[in-house]
Amino acid sequence: MTAAPAPLPSPIRNWLSTRGWVLHPHQRAMLDAAADPATLLIAPTGGGKTLSGFLPTLAELTAAPRAGLHTLYVSPLKALASDIRRNLQAPITEADLPIRVEDRTGDTGATARKRQRADPPHILLTTPESLALLLSYEDAPRIFAGLQRVVVDEIHALAESKRGDQLMLGLARLQSLCPGLRRVGLSATVEDPAAIARFLACHPDPCRILQADPGPAPDIALLEVPQRPPWAGGGGRYAIPAVLEAVRAHRTTLIFHNTRAQAELFFHDLWLQNDDALPIGIHHGSLSREQRSRVEAAMVAGDLRAIVCTGSLDLGIDWGDVDLVIQVGAPKNVKRLVQRIGRANHRYNAPSKARIVPANRFELVECHAALDAVRDGTLDGDPRGPGPRDVLCQHILVVACAGAFDADALFAEVTTAGPYAGLGRTAFDACLDFCATGGYALRAYDRYQRLQQRTDGRWQLRDPRAARQIRMNLGTIMDTDTLKVRLRGRGGAPLGEVEEAFAATLTPGDTFLIGGQIVRYEGLREMTVEVSRRGGDTPKIATFMGTKFATSTQLSDRILTMLAQPDWPDLPGHTRDWLALQRRVSHMPRRDRLLIESFPHDGRAHTCAYGFAGRNAMQTLGLLLTQRMEEIGIGPLGFVATDYAVLVWSVDPLTDPAPLFQGDDLRAGFETWLAGNAVMKRTFKASAIIAGLIDRQSPGQRKSGRQATFSSDILYDTLRKYDPDHLLLQITREEARRGLVDFGRIEEMLARTRGRVDHVVLDRVTPLAAPLFLEPGRVPVQGAGAEKLLAEAAARLIETAGLPA
């Protein structure tokens, strides 16, 4: 259905012409499509995407002024919401439009929130979590009465996470409250627009896709660095002089890193070599809000020449005059690279400029493959499976908070959401049963059910006071357990956060990097890490969790294609020689075969398997292999994994590797291994929190209640022992196939190689395996081995302390 082209009301037309602006074709098209039930706009950064989303709203409200909420805007970032408010305010004020815009996020004060519920603005800017919270209120129907449009920004990013699944369930709810609701999704360039459209659509209604002109091809290449990249590691520090040179030659440069720890280290070293004292800042998610806002303000004011940053800057915040993007370390997927490139030249029709700095020799190959993919315009998108059930459980609880509901109606509503369009009734009922009774084989809670069915058949909270607890646990974002870091002393400045596990390894006097400065650990007080500035010059590095990106399937495939070439004229001589040597002394890894190398080194047997399945899957493969090696008694001692290979060291050599890579054995091993694995326990904990089994822990609770609260690991072990088919264990296994465990990609590797194993036995380390010896992140083998290490450590301590054993 297409309405006749809507003429723009004159105040908006006049405002555009005084600015000398002409609408882009896709902005015009969005106006024309304004009456459609759902529209997805794909446009490159800088294409006036946000205005495209809001133009129909501005036009409708100007043509027919009214009270009440008209448009809801949802973005993944709080910062984006406030940014958009500023940007929208300009035309509204200058053209004097009768429109009120407000944002509502976790940062909005209690008074403002209350007022917004009583008297909603015309346009409300919010996040998926704040929307879920609004929907949980009993007066949700009143708050959203009259809502016409919802605009989902950066939908490509949301579609990759549970936050997006939750948002789509929220939209399904909104659609029931406001049947005429129209949806708009704004997306950066993506591989499969139809998948995002299916995600956004209100099923079975269609979703129209509008493609904006992608603009000129980006100017993208490797940064020319005279020094050779090192053999291993991810820092890219060898390139600092060249990076400083590039910063000097441009107005503003964004320097992206893949992890926070790398950003910290790079920033520190950059300053040591910054002889011209160029103003350079750092921005990442572990820094305190105060520090981040300071950098953001300086950036907007044009006071900074460069910012060292991570994914916290990935999304479309308006950073003004960026004219160069430098990516340090291989971009683990091409899509991310393209989106980062989009940060440069935030003006339509000007080519973006980006330079890549491979952090090590192998990444040089990876970067070449990524550049080829960008030139070919092939993005990678690993399709996500159906919507996860833990998110559905939370949604059922949110709905229950707002009032009694009918299960049939809720099922019908939920299956209009893209991620849940294929959900079966049995699966839905299992989630409802979990919310109501815990869903255990042992029916223990009949008297204390969380949800009860009333005589009219509708479901409601048994105890309405439970709503408060459900609201407190809303959302699907998992904070790793982090501790705030503060300078010691009265009103010490907050510096950021570190993982609790990292903090636990610190003893007073240890130093680490945060916010680009070296600080000294002084002690832990009220769950805050206290530090002083008296740092040495060799910091112990903070092991920020960050996000461990794995190389995407498509990029891995391109790398394998590249390795298959007879020669590599495009690569620098040092890398070309390295690959040629590998081919001469061993084999080159191939797509359809699994290369295994065995060689002795340093008095130990080594086995290297080139699976090219991405870091997470290779790590899992390492755990499974060492488990099997322990079974056959060759004494595995540890392993290290990268995106392309896993290297295992053991007491005795592995003589016949092929049986270890049988699919059935690996799968069986996987099931056993799930039992004790820390990653699985973490996965379980996240799903248990999302599904509402356990509470999120606030720092206050942790401080006071250590003795009373117990680890979710105990729940995991107990369920596995007594109720192995419980819904949450099903969900945990499902999650394990993607994400951190990523068994799905091991399956892919098995399907690709089909048992064709090339075992090469050599008398020394091979060229491709050599960098693995320098990789950080070595994993000692757990289990019997760990118990032995623990016993040794205990004995050593007793001895050191001079106590009799």
Binding site: T437, G438, Y440, L442, A444, Y445, Y448, R450, R462, D463, A466, Q469, A501, A504, T505, T507, P508, E522, G523, G638, L693, I694, D695, R706, Q707, A708, T709, F710, S711, I714, L715, T718, L719, K721, Y722, D723, H726, R778, V779, P780, Q782, A786, E787, L789, L790, A791, E792, A793, A794, L797, I798, A801, L803, A805
Partner: protein, 232 residues
């Protein structure tokens, strides 16, 4: 007397009595044939459901009894002391599910069984066995909460745990705290958390030469981890 003394026990003397800290978290006194467990917290999941609506896997009573029975079998204990907080609250003590109640009665039958009161279960409970605020036996006194200045004292209550870092990792486990005057038992119940040995209350309670004996597949003794005092 049947006594399968595990190689994995940690053996120590307190007030002249030879005691075994078992990897399970139970305390074994071979010469008396006495097994002592603390903080079983039966009924914890049910109490949480009643109070807050959270519905944790309702199998913790079963698991606690499984492990308790295994300890009774392994040691052949004739005498059992449950050192307080056996029940998560008085209501749990009165409403143990039928199958668990029968199981517990079967374990009690034929043994000299004593319930020491805890802060969670301060009153008399409707189960066989003696009910006491504390029990003095030979050189030892068994009570739920340690008293400063006591000698030869066996107590529970704090659910102590200790953390040990080693090459490539670290573990935190429930532990016994032992010095020349007392032993504090870890919690034996399945749904129990722990209080870190570095907490001020445990540091103040235990002597400077105290050890932590970590539970697990074997009992490992280490010097009790404490917070380092910073010199000004």
């Amino acid at each position: 007397m049947r006594c399968e003394q595990s190689m994995n026990d940690y053996t120590f003397t307190l007030g002249g009595a030879e005691l075994h800290a078992r990897p399970s978290g139970a305390l074994w006194w071979p010469s008396k044939g006495l097994l002592c467990v603390s903080d079983l917290h039966f009924g914890k999941a049910a109490r949480i459901a009643r109070r807050s609506g959270g519905m944790l896997p309702p199998y913790e009573g079963q698991d606690t009894l499984d492990r308790l029975e295994a300890e009774l079998d392994a040691t052949g204990a004739r005498h059992v002391i449950c050192l307080g907080d056996s029940f998560d609250d008085m209501q749990a003590a009165g409403s143990l599910p039928e199958d668990l109640g029968a199981w517990l009665l079967r374990l009690i039958a034929g043994r000299d069984w004593a319930w020491v009161e805890g802060n969670h279960d301060p009153g008399p409970i409707d189960l066989p066995g003696t009910h006491r605020a504390e029990i003095a036996l030979g050189p030892l006194v068994f009570r739920h909460i340690a008293q400063p200045g006591a000698e030869g004292e066996v107590s529970g209550h704090y659910h102590p745990k200790a953390r040990l870092g080693f090459r490539g990792g670290a573990v935190a486990r429930p532990c016994f705290l032992i010095d020349g005057r007392r032993v504090v038992l870890p919690a034996f119940g399945t749904y129990t958390g722990g209080l870190c040995s570095t907490s001020p209350v445990l540091c103040a309670l235990m002597d400077d030469d105290a050890r932590a004996v970590m539970t697990g597949s074997a009992a490992h003794a280490i010097p009790m981890p404490r917070v380092l005092r910073r010199r000004a």
